[in-house]
């Protein structure tokens, strides 16, 4: 078996175990070191794997997985009894029953259980690098947490174990494996969300548990239908091979449903929003590199099979709706982390939509969004943690003094928001590719394309309004603070922030290279057909899309560099004048506009449920 792969899978598990027993001082070094090693391994793995790698595990592993599976489901059952949650109990029983039934009826699988292709290594790189950064960040964050020493160790341990589970999710080919690790991430998120053990945390953890269990259940159902239709092996590979077979739509729809639930699409967005009660590194982890990114991963895996099917149509419609609905919901929020959460849901919708469209350009768009959204969101969430810990700020409307007390954090957050919206940042490229391909969609799919176009255009504008609004609250400073004094936040906080800022900037500069050697090959393997990404003079082509490089470079000077320069520049020959206050010299309070959409929320959920039903119907009919 591949050395790097073994490392990527086993190292986090090992670290996770060690962290529980080692003293804190050594564990700090261990976390930093293992984060570096994991990132390096993932990178090496990405470089090494060219052809899809199929790995057959020994039979004992299969048995082990089954046992672990049953144990985990029993644990869920115990949680249900302990917390007196009927829903969790019911779902656990259903899952257990389904699993046992499948184990009894399914023939023993002989096919390789693991599949490591470019898409997997792409995800592995994202997961390990970003999660590593988060792990380093949480060293200090969790140190300041008000809990026992063991809980602190436990937190870091779960974090690494979570990384291991995520790594397994993206390389599982066998759906039983996939189910197990899928549920393992659910378990990890359950532990994380309930980490603070207060009433709200427990409640939200249970919500996350049962919602994700539904996802698990749909995977089991998908396995059942694959077996029922007689396609043979229950692997992704096999499923894709039967992509034109009769009745294949149902398992595809069920798997997409699992993706939608993991991706917190309406009406299942509640679990991700509830996850806000956990310590901030958890939010960063859930939002940027792990957990929710399973959603685009599944859709990308399945996209060759589902594109141009009715399922894809419903998926596109649903995600279009979710995009605009969560953009509007985000606008009505005041809590900084909730704003970020809603915008994550919106962008996930875009990624899923792009995956569902499944043309070469959209696959690239989806991948670009996955990567750059991961980096930007991680940066934003970690800074939300800094805001919480250093500046004691949680509500965005309280941040009007941040521009003076924490200009660096304000700058980073502004760049973070800008990087989700404007040229030349990577996420913009993703968005741009999306809009143009939806334009193409409007010519092929007519009505659906036009409707989705409207949703994306409207939702995009709402999101930009949201970003401006939040940014506007943080960057104000009075004329007397012309010389900026950057705050000191300590090596763990500042270091990770610098690193992420560096990644964001590197993403702009290295975009042509990334497209050429990173997204292009990944999209090619994902789609199973050549995705033309090539360079021609100053232009860069992704399929039919032309990305001119010169404007991007100039935009790089115009936006990120301008924001940074604005912090340092001083016009020495200009005099300073006070702000115009109608001649008065009193201070006035600031805020921003706000929106309330309480009345619309039930409709959003209802529409989400309707879309889910439509998804099933589309598969059945």
């Amino acid at each position: 078996m591949n050395l790097y792969l073994t490392g990527v899978i086993l190292l986090p598990l090992l670290v996770s175990a060690l962290l529980l027993i080692l003293p804190p001082k050594i564990s700090k070094g261990l976390v930093i070191l293992s984060s570096l090693v994991l990132s390096a391994l993932a990178l090496l793995l990405y470089i090494q794997v060219d052809e899809p790698l199929r790995i057959t595990l020994p039979h004992a592993v299969n048995e082990g997985i089954v046992v672990a599976d049953i144990l985990m489901l029993l644990y869920f059952g115990w949680v249900a009894i302990r917390r007196k949650s009927v829903l969790v109990g019911l779902l656990s029983v259903l899952q257990l029953g389904g699993l046992l039934y499948l184990l009894r009826t399914l023939p023993a699988s002989e096919a390789p259980q693991l599949l490591v292709d470019k898409l997997s290594t792409f995800m592995l790189l994202l997961i390990n690098v970003i999660s590593g950064i988060i792990a380093v960040f949480s060293l200090r964050y969790i140190d300041e947490e008000d809990c026992s020493a063991f809980r602190k160790k436990f937190f870091l341990s779960v974090l690494f174990w979570f990384i291991a589970a995520m790594n397994m999710v993206v390389i599982s080919d066998n759906l039983e494996f996939f189910f197990f690790f899928f549920e393992l991430t659910t378990l990890a998120s359950f532990l994380f969300i309930g980490f603070r053990k207060d009433e709200v945390s427990v409640k939200n953890a249970l919500t996350a548990l049962w919602m994700n269990q539904i996802g698990g259940l749909t995977i089991l159902a998908a396995i059942f239908f694959i077996a029922y239709n007689g396609y043979g092996e229950i692997t992704f590979t096999n499923l894709l091979a039967h992509s034109t077979a009769e009745g294949v739509l149902l398992p595809l729809a069920l798997l997409s449903m699992a993706a939608l639930i993991k991706g917190a699409q309406l009406p299942f967005s509640k679990w991700l929003l509830g996850a806000m009660v956990a310590p901030t590194p958890v939010s960063a982890l859930l939002h940027s590199s792990t957990m929710v990114k399973i959603a685009p991963f599944i859709i990308l895996r399945l996209s060759p099979a589902i594109k141009d099917t009715p399922v894809a149509m419903v998926l596109i419609g649903l995600t279009g709706f979710v995009f605009i609905a969560s953009a509007i919901s985000a606008l009505s929020q005041d809590n900084f982390k909730r704003i970020l959460a809603h915008s994550t849901i919106a962008l996930l919708a875009l990624m899923i939509m792009m995956g569902a469209v499944g043309s070469p350009v959209t696959i690239v768009a989806s991948l670009v969004l996955v990567l750059f959204h991961g980096i930007s969101k991680c940066m934003l969430f970690l800074n939300a943690g800094i805001l919480e810990r250093v500046f004691h700020l949680k509500q965005s409307s309280d941040m009007d003094k941040l521009g003076e007390s924490g200009p660096f954090t304000a700058l980073v957050i502004s760049i973070g928001f800008m990087s989700l919206l404007l040229p030349p940042f990577g996420a913009f490229i993703g968005k741009w590719l999306s809009i143009e391909t939806i334009g193409t969609l409007a010519t092929d799919k007519k009505l659906l394309g036009a409707l989705v176009m409207v949703a994306v255009a409207g939702g995009g504008a709402v999101l930009s309004l949201l970003y401006f609004k939040v940014m506007g609250l943080l960057i104000a400073r009075s004329g007397e603070k012309d010389r900026v004094q950057f705050e000191k936040t300590g090596p763990y906080y500042a270091g990770t922030t610098y690193l992420l800022l560096g990644l964001v900037m590197a993403g702009i500069i290295g975009l042509p290279l990334l497209l050429m050697y990173y997204f292009g090959p990944v999209a090619t393997t994902t789609l199973g057909q050549a995705v033309p990404v090539f360079q021609d003079g100053w232009n860069f082509f992704v399929g039919t899309m032309r990305i001119p490089m010169l404007p991007m470079l100039i935009a790089f000077i115009l936006l990120p560099l301008t924001l940074v320069t604005a912090m340092f520049i001083r016009f020495r020959h200009a005099d300073r004048a006070k702000e115009y206050m109608c001649g008065e010299k009193v201070n006035y309070s600031f805020s921003s506009f706000y929106f309330t959409i309480d009345r619309a929320v039930p409709y959003f959920s209802a529409a989400g449920i309707l879309f889910f039903i439509a998804l099933l119907l589309a598969a059945l009919l």
């Binding site: 404007l422 176009m453 930009s464 309004l465 604005a566 506009f593």
Partner: protein, 279 residues
């Protein structure tokens, strides 16, 4: 190379032409109000005078962002005139607005903040419409490039008249003309974002407005395709329409503006998109 001569010339002269348009507009407006009005070159006198003023700023970042607003707007305009991808142009224009909004927010001035808030809201009012128009353009010409629209044989106006109407409805928002000049709203927030700029630094924001004229009229010109006469007619008609509208309406508040723009202009653009994509 010859094909690039005119656009490059236009780009270089854009502030100058924009200033002339603005000067002419002030005269037309004055005449509509039965006044004589300022001389044609008045904007340039203003420009030169502002250059001569003592430099006063609130803080450096604010002033710098104002300048960068001008630069990025010019850049967006250049790309539009060179026939670049319309979505890119729209987002670059958004970038320039973003810099202005950040400038507005970066001070501790109430009116500046209000102006920035309203500018952000007016982006919500016109940006989706512009994107939808760009997509309709794509459906008709097969390319998102503005160049494709410039060279299209049949004027796009006849293919997408509703989109043109939608554009006409949102142009007052962009050009800060009554009834949608909420972002500037002189009597309410004394100029909004531009309030805290003065002297040379105000000049950047002031001339950026001239560039916006060229930007908007170029968007109008797109609808004429390669028919230059029709293009000039459209631009002239739009000019008269904007001034007549400015002179016959009061300023609505931002909620009404959003309702109007998203309710009527956006719907028109959408219907146009539907018609274009279904046929």
């Amino acid at each position: 190379m010859n094909g690039y001569l005119l656009p490059v010339l236009l780009i270089i002269l854009a502030p100058f032409i924009g200033g002339l348009v603005y000067g002419f507009e002030r005269i037309v407006k004055a005449r509509m109000q039965r006044r004589i009005g300022p001389p044609l070159l008045q904007p340039f006198y203003d420009f030169l005078k502002l250059a001569d003023k003592r430099q006063m700023i609130v803080h450096s970042a604010h002033a710098f962002l104002g300048i960068m607003h001008f630069v990025s707007l010019w850049f967006a305009l250049a790309l539009l005139l060179l026939g670049a991808d319309l979505i890119l142009v729209i987002f670059l224009h958004l970038l320039s607005s973003a810099l202005l909004i950040m400038a507005g927010f970066s001070t501790r001035s109430i009116f500046s903040h209000l102006g920035a808030n309203r500018t952000a809201l007016s982006i919500l009012a016109y940006e989706p419409v512009l994107i939808i128009i760009a997509v309709s353009l794509f459906i008709n010409t097969g390319s998102f490039d503005a160049a494709a629209a410039f060279t299209s044989e049949e004027p796009l106006l006849f293919k997408m008249p509703l989109a043109f109407v939608a554009l006409l409805l949102v142009l007052p928002i962009k050009l800060k003309k009554s009834p949608f000049d909420v972002a500037e709203a002189h009597q309410e927030i004394t100029g909004g974002v531009e309030l805290e700029f003065s002297g040379l630094f105000f000049e950047a924001v002031y001339t950026a407005k001239w560039l916006d004229y060229i930007f908007c009229y170029t968007l109008v010109f797109l609808f004429a395709g390669s028919n230059i006469l029709l293009g000039i007619g459209l631009v002239a008609g739009t000019f008269l329409y904007l001034n007549a509208l400015d002179n016959s309406t009061a300023r609505v508040n931002y909620k009404q503006m959003l309702r109007f723009s998203l309710g009527i202009a956006f719907t028109l653009a959408f219907i146009n998109l539907l018609i274009n994509s279904l046929t």
